[in-house]
Amino acid sequence: MWFYPTNGKENGMEKIKIENVSKIFGRHLNQALKLVEQKKSKTEVLKQTGATIGVYNANFTVNEGEIFVIMGLSGSGKSTLVRLLNRLIEPTSGNIYIDGENISKMNKQQLIKVRREKMSMVFQNFGLFPQRTVLANTEYGLEIRGIPKEERRLKAEKALDNAGLLPYKDQYPSQLSGGMQQRVGLARALANDPDILLMDEAFSALDPLIRKDMQDELLDLQQKMKKTIIFITHDLNEALRIGDRIALMKDGEIIQIGTGEEILTNPANDYVRTFLEDVDRSKVLTVENAMIRPISINIDVDGPKVALQRMREEEVSVVLAVNKLREFKGYITADDALEASKRGEGSLVNYLRTDMPTVQKDMYIQDVLSIISDSKTPLAVVQDEKLVGVLIRGVVIEALSSSDENEGVKENVPAT
């Protein structure tokens, strides 16, 4: 079910571009802007000018087919930012481009056209119209565009069918559970067939199990539909789970943009670091992030003397064995190497132990935890059969508990 994070650039065209966008609520806008430029805090600006910073100087681009998550605590400006994209809130300054067209300069008619054809929004509390049936809700976007009754009914029914909600089409929203209501919200958005989906805390009002289902559904859907999705959330696990890239916001400013892994491994500052503390890192870190450099010998060439020498050098009691192609073969303990040396054997092939489990480099830590706890030995990390690292229990736990030790992990080049 995991949606593998992809590099945004691979998805092709730039869909949304935001340039120096700010939103300040209240009066004395210029004065407030100046104070923010001087790095005054949100509270200070409010005290001095009475203006509230919604969003300050936001810049980013979202590529076509990407899920771009905007994450932050409440009051960080993330909901304001998403509303600037369809101008439910008017930006104070800056430019917003969708498909190269400047949304912020559009007149009312043009804006209505863009809202009708290019983007649909999904709301935290579903935003369903209580007096309309599920079907009539789903039809809403098509109805206001003036699409003939028959056609919009067919399209809406198809959208509901995709969401598995067709049997409920004549019910009213209040008769459905929260998860089903949000499915209707999503079906209503998709019935319009927009390029862009704006999802404002779309799953935050749902209980955790339903939320996870909905995330899965969204990812499945995205596999098929390839929409450009802007997803707002305050939940880092959700952000990491569904986001191709994540923008972290604090006090109206974007403080870091990157893939989940980039943010986890290189938090931009202390704020991001504290934010990351409660995340379940095992779901995000891969084996590669936690493995260390393997100490190995070439079993085809090296004899007991070389093995013992390597162990002394590195102060370990085990070396991993590879062949000429660096393919993982097993391991040699210090006791065995000593024994072989005493007997004067030239090769260690007969002393090779093979009961060490191997894991792939790009597996998630979460998925290898059980292997680690069952295994008496460390784990060998391989990629295309070749040994690239070793996973030691202590290091894994360390990696899961903090992000400060990552420097060591970063330079794990396989030893020669």
Binding site: V114, E117, G127, P130, Q131, G141, I144
Partner: protein, 284 residues
């Protein structure tokens, strides 16, 4: 001290009001006449039709409406039959029809004027700031005061009665419409906007349907207020049950006053329960 206050001559508010009123009456005399004549004509026709319906049929129709409006319960239907039969029995049928016409005209016109005003208030801060004090003024001013301009504009009869009733009954429907639209959850307004609704689409597809229960509560209040104006309007010659109450008062006939009063109460209860049940139906 007191002499100091007396230095300021009395401001001629009453006099200037009179001048303005005279000017209005003179300038728009033709306009007022047209309204008066056409209003009188259409109201008399409606009363004629109501009186033409045989009382027993009329009572049955009301009972059937009451039965279905209250989800097939017999309470209001039985009350309507007994109450209306009582009014008929007391020889007040014609007066009842006159009163119903007056209340219908006053409340329908109040709703036609009031709902757009309420919508305007909900959409514009400026409109709200100007209309709000006007509504306060209209509601606190004693109902009798409205009779004066009513008479000035339309003379004596049923039309000035309706005019005074409209002014008196207008505020609730305006206020409730404004309130109802402002109370539409923000997320639903955003949903309507985000799908590219025009202002009108948002209004009649989202805001009005959602505000409807609140608006209907205002309509209910407006109907009852215009009914309560019936007695006052009879002072300037509006026919109906109110005139019976008034003449009983003038001749100190306790019994007649009681009968006419009870008839008004019966009518009020039927009107109130009927408009309320329409509202309840909508909410389900």
């Amino acid at each position: 001290m007191y002499q100091l206050l007396d230095f300021i001559p009395s401001i001629p508010v009453a006099k200037s009001t009179e001048i303005v009123m005279d000017w209005l009456t003179d300038t728009f005399a033709g306009f007022f006449d047209v309204i008066k004549e056409s209003g009188k004509f259409s109201m008399e026709r409606v009363t004629d039709i109501l009186e033409w319906i045989p009382p027993i049929l009329f009572i049955l129709i009301i009972a059937v409406i009451a039965f279905f409006a209250t989800k097939r319960k017999f309470g209001l239907a039985i009350f309507s039959i007994v109450g209306l039969l009582f009014i008929y029995n007391q020889g007040l049928w014609e007066e009842l029809m006159n009163t119903i016409t007056l209340v219908l005209f006053a409340s329908i016109l109040a709703v036609i004027i009031g709902i757009p005003l309420g919508i305007l208030m909900s959409k514009s801060k400026f409109a709200e700031a100007t209309i709000q004090p006007l509504l306060d003024f209209m509601q606190t001013m004693p109902g009798f005061v409205y009779l004066i301009p009513a008479v000035a504009f339309f003379g004596i009869g049923v039309v000035p009665g309706v005019f005074a009733s409209i002014i008196f009954a207008l505020p609730p429907v305006v206020r409730f419409t404004n309130l109802g639209i402002r109370q539409v959850p923000k997320e639903l307004v955003e949903a309507a906007d985000s799908y590219g609704s025009t202002g009108w689409q948002k209004l009649y597809k989202v805001e009005l349907p959602i505000a409807m229960p609140t608006i209907m509560a205002g309509v209910n209040q407006t109907v009852l207020l215009s009914l309560s104006m019936v007695v006052i309007a009879s002072m300037i010659g509006a026919p109906g049950l109110g005139r019976e109450v008034l003449s009983a008062l003038q001749q100190a006939k306790v019994g007649n006053g009681f009968v006419a009063g009870v008839s008004l109460v019966i009518l009020a209860i039927i009107f109130d329960r009927l408009t309320q049940s329409i509202n309840k139906k909508r909410q389900e």
